[in-house]
């Protein structure tokens, strides 16, 4: 994944971006806003880019990006075929080579039914640099296995705590096999291309040797398709969002599949409000709660069938 962010930029801009690309491992986000300074988030720090492409903490020295440059960048990212990314633009983000995600915002164009048709006049871009953290789930493995059997597990945290990173590594370790259990066939319903970071149908992140990915398909539909076509032992989804998806997971579990999922939330109370108290607790034998403390993310507690089995507080 080295220097893959440089490939996002057209040839005439690469000289400017090459210094940033050289320290890709440390970069978390690149924020581009029309007629506003370029902001880079590196190692938890907010920095600007000066005219030579060097990082600076002085906003006054910052290089501004124009609307024309954003248009040019979008064209390049879309391989000069913006129409081919119609669906992604509708959702507001594109996954690119290297597994990075480019979020876009501007002016939404709505259909008659109030749904977003596309986003035009794109004036804001957020390049989220993908970081694969192999071994992130090492500490979680003993919690999600019981006597060599994988338990249905849900990872819950507020945004930015690393639940997707954790799920990705969990999928990889479950798929490849680990000291707690044998390798299993995993199917990933990756609606937002966040787990596998698939680009052109090919996962850009290591999700394991026994993993099949259905990319960019609504989770409910994807789970049923995968269940029928790939006969998985485990189904993994990111960001469980509504009761329809929970129902699809329940059906998958009824077919004998194990479930690995994540959900936004601050605790089980949040989930109880969203899905109904006890609804998810019936399905998930393990609920892992994450938190951010002193700038780093960690497991706060693991609940086993509603009971706290391991609290790190």
């Amino acid at each position: 994944m080295e220097n893959t962010i440089l490939q996002l930029f057209p040839a005439q801009r690469r000289d400017f971006w090459k210094r940033i690309a050289a320290c890709q491992k440390e970069i978390r986000e690149i924020r581009l806003r029309a007629d506003r300074p370029i902001i880079i988030y590196r190692l938890g720090e907010e920095l600007f880019l000066d005219r030579e492409g060097n990082l600076t903490d002085k906003a006054g020295d910052a290089m501004f990006v124009s609307r024309g440059e954003l248009d040019e960048l979008l064209e390049h990212i879309c391989h000069y075929s913006v129409y081919a990314y119609e669906e992604e633009l509708r959702q507001g983000f594109l996954t690119v080579a290297g597994g990075h995600r480019v979020g876009v915002a501007g002016q939404a164009v709505l259909n008659g039914d109030g749904k977003v048709r596309t986003v035009k006049n794109i004036s804001f871009m957020n390049i989220r640099v993908a970081h694969e953290v192999k071994g992130a789930a090492d500490g979680l493995l003993p919690e999600v296995y019981e006597n060599g059997r994988l338990m249905n597990s849900l990872i819950v945290s507020p945004p930015g705590c690393g639940k997707t990173t954790l799920l990705r590594d969990l999928v990889r370790q479950v798929s490849d096999g680990n000291r707690y259990g044998r390798g299993m066939t995993v199917a990933v319903a990756d609606e937002r291309s966040e787990i596998a970071g698939a680009y052109g149908g090919k996962p850009q992140n290591d999700v394991g040797m026994r993993t099949d990915v259905l990319d960019a398909c609504p989770k409910e539909v994807a789970m049923m398709m995968l269940l029928r076509s790939m006969t998985p032992e485990v189904i993994a989804i990111d960001e469980l969002g509504n009761s329809g998806e929970l129902e699809a997971l329940r059906r998958a579990a009824a077919c004998g599949c194990k479930i690995l999922a994540t959900a936004h939330g601050d605790g089980t109370e949040d989930l109880g409000t969203r899905f109904g108290r006890g609804e998810f607790e019936q399905l998930f034998q393990r609920v892992v709660l994450l938190e951010r403390k002193n700038g780093s993310c960690r497991i706060r507690e693991v609940r086993r069938g509603g009971e706290i089995s391991c609290s790190r507080e």
Partner: protein, 172 residues
């Protein structure tokens, strides 16, 4: 005897020139129809696969022959390598030399390239419409050329033969 041989050579030469012109006229129509086929293939790839233009080039290359096949493969490969060049630049620099080898006029080539000159449509139907425009333009030209082609071919061969006779008469 010598004069007779010279006359035959002049007639054969001028007649050959007429036939060459006839082939050029027919060859241009054939080449325009090939460009039209390429555009139809591109439309199909966009309509059913929602592929990017570079992916389309890679897919349709296998259905082409000769230099055109190589050129389209080259476009797909250069876009895959992502050297930062625009699609228009890559497409023109790879495909134009291949088209120059065909009996096409510059206006035919420009009509074909029209769809790469404008891009950035967020809607596939607009992108398809642009391809259709290029195709319709080429179809109209091929039709126009075909309409008078029979006469033009006969004229070329006749003029070639008559030119030969004229030269013989002048030199006799």
């Amino acid at each position: 005897m010598l004069k007779g041989i010279a006359c035959c050579m002049i007639i054969a030469g001028s007649l050959g020139m007429g036939v060459w012109y006839k082939n050029e006229f027919t060859g241009r129509i054939r080449a325009i129809r090939m460009l039209r086929t390429i555009l139809i293939l591109l439309e199909g790839e966009i309509r059913y696969g929602r592929d990017t233009l570079s992916e389309c080039c890679g897919h349709i290359a296998i259905r082409l022959k000769g230099e055109c096949q190589t050129a389209f493969e080259q476009v797909a490969e250069r876009m895959r390598q992502n050297g930062g060049e625009s699609f228009e630049r890559i497409f023109r620099s790879s495909v134009e030399p291949a088209l120059k080898g065909l009996p096409l006029k510059q206006e035919d080539i420009e009509d074909f390239f029209r769809f790469v000159g404008t891009y950035g449509f967020a809607d596939s139907s607009l992108q398809l419409r642009l391809l259709e425009q290029s195709r319709e333009q080429l179809e109209a030209r091929a039709e126009e050329l075909s309409a008078g082609n029979g006469e033009r071919c006969r004229m070329a061969v006749s003029l070639g033969a008559m030119g030969g006779f004229l030269i013989i008469l002048v030199l006799w």
